[in-house]
């Protein structure tokens, strides 16, 4: 008898799971190894001991929390999947719109460029730029444009200067220490304050 078949029959014999025919097939092995009967009795005892000693159920610690925590995880997973799905939808949506949005966007960029050219011309000529209401910025360089943006919400003013040559590191290393007054900081190439 092949080893695999013998193992199978012996295993099921130990579980009382053999048919009469299978039992007849196994008889020569049992006759050759009478100690197997004792092993079987031992195993029946072991099975009882296993079932008595090893719990088939163990309530997890804090069972209610187990369920509520699980519910939270499941809902988070669900939200994650929803987001993924909606992102997938957005992607498909964008792909459809891309084909007519792209030419429209290009036209908008061209229009903005032409308008920008037109509005920059007076500033370059006069050197004085009308900016935020009631404010003026003077630029001594004709090819430099300036703009003031006043944000009422944050009560702050942003000065935008375009057309300056890039600053070299040596331009920045011009001072040491803090400056007095409310704008008490400066930048140099070695430290940022």
């Amino acid at each position: 008898m092949k080893n695999d078949r013998k193992e199978e029959l012996l295993t099921r014999w130990m579980d009382d799971g053999l048919s009469d025919e299978e039992l007849r097939e196994l008889e020569p092995v049992l006759a050759e190894h009478p100690e197997l009967h004792e092993e079987r009795a031992d195993y029946a005892r072991l099975r009882e001991e296993l079932r008595a000693a090893v719990p088939s159920e163990i309530e997890p610690p804090f069972p209610d929390f187990f369920n509520s925590h699980l519910e939270r995880l499941v809902r988070e997973e669900g939200r994650g999947m929803d987001k993924t799905d909606s992102r997938r939808g957005e992607g498909a949506f964008n792909r459809l719109w891309f084909w007519w949005m792209a030419p429209a966007a290009t036209a908008a960029v061209v229009m903005a460029f032409l308008l920008g050219m037109k509005s920059a011309q007076p500033a370059n000529q006069g050197g004085v730029v009308d900016a935020a209401a009631g404010s003026e910025v003077y630029s001594p360089l004709s090819d430099v444009s300036t703009e003031i943006i006043f944000d009422r919400e944050s009560d702050s003013t942003l000065l935008v200067v375009e057309g300056l040559a890039p600053l070299a590191d040596t331009d920045l290393v011009t001072a040491e220490g803090f400056l007095d007054g409310e704008h008490g900081y400066y930048v140099n190439s070695e430290n940022v304050y």
């Binding site: 199978e8 092993e39 195993y43 099975r47 008595a52 090893v54 088939s56 309530e59 187990f66």
Partner: protein, 216 residues
């Protein structure tokens, strides 16, 4: 929320009654009914399924990994996977068998990761583990008489010591067969192997277990 009162009430409450096959009692819905409701998106049915099966899942994991915190987290992972996979569950197998299969996959993934993480290191947890988690409520297959309790404690320690010395495959086969009461075919489904392999694993696991217990 009073956490300890909640904990105590649940120790008393215990799992929802129902047998391993998942057939509900007269007042308990069967697994099949609960699964159907889950598939319709009823989370309360899933909550009932979890309450019904968490003890078996946690015990199976705890008997495999021997660590309370990891077992708790892995049991959570099992049920998250169950919830996500439930829409595809076709009831060709019993729900409990399918759930044990997910448990098997989660535990073996964890073991693989653990093996990679601790490669070359001495893992103290693997050498010195608590037999049963301090905060856990164990429900043995049958209740012991008081006069049996003392010797059972010793016996349990011996058996658990012997089980730990088995390979994970042999240990799992023995636990599924003898403790959880699964059929060979179901064990083969859970462990994703042939019935012949299950037989072979049980054969060698039993021999090894007997030999270890005789020595101890």
């Amino acid at each position: 929320m009073n956490f300890f009162r909640q904990f105590a009430s649940n120790l008393v409450k215990g799992p929802v009654p129902g047998d391993a096959a998942g057939e509900g009692g007269p007042d308990t819905p069967s697994d099949a009914e609960l699964v159907n409701r889950c598939q319709e998106g009823d989370y309360s049915a899933f909550d009932a399924l979890v309450t019904k099966h968490r003890g078996r899942v946690y015990a199976m994991i705890q008997n495999m990994v021997r660590n309370e915190a990891d077992s708790w987290d892995l049991a959570q992972e099992v049920f998250v996977k169950v919830w996500k996979a439930l829409p595809k569950f076709e009831a060709r197998a019993r729900f409990s068998t399918w759930m044990y299969r997910i448990t098997h996959n989660v535990v073996y993934d964890w073991m693989r990761k653990r093996k990679m993480e601790t490669a070359g290191e001495l893992d103290d947890n693997l050498l010195d583990r608590e037999a049963i988690a301090a905060g856990a409520q164990a429900i043995p297959a049958r209740m012991a008489r008081p006069d049996e309790a003392l010797s059972q404690g010793e016996l349990r320690a011996n058996i658990e010591g012997a089980l730990e010395k088995l390979s994970p495959e042999h240990r799992e086969a023995i636990l599924l067969r003898e403790v959880q009461g699964l059929e060979y075919k179901e064990i083969a489904d859970v462990m994703e192997c042939s019935i012949g392999t299950v037989m072979s694993r049980l054969f060698y696991a039993r021999k090894k277990l007997q030999s270890l217990l005789t020595k101890s």
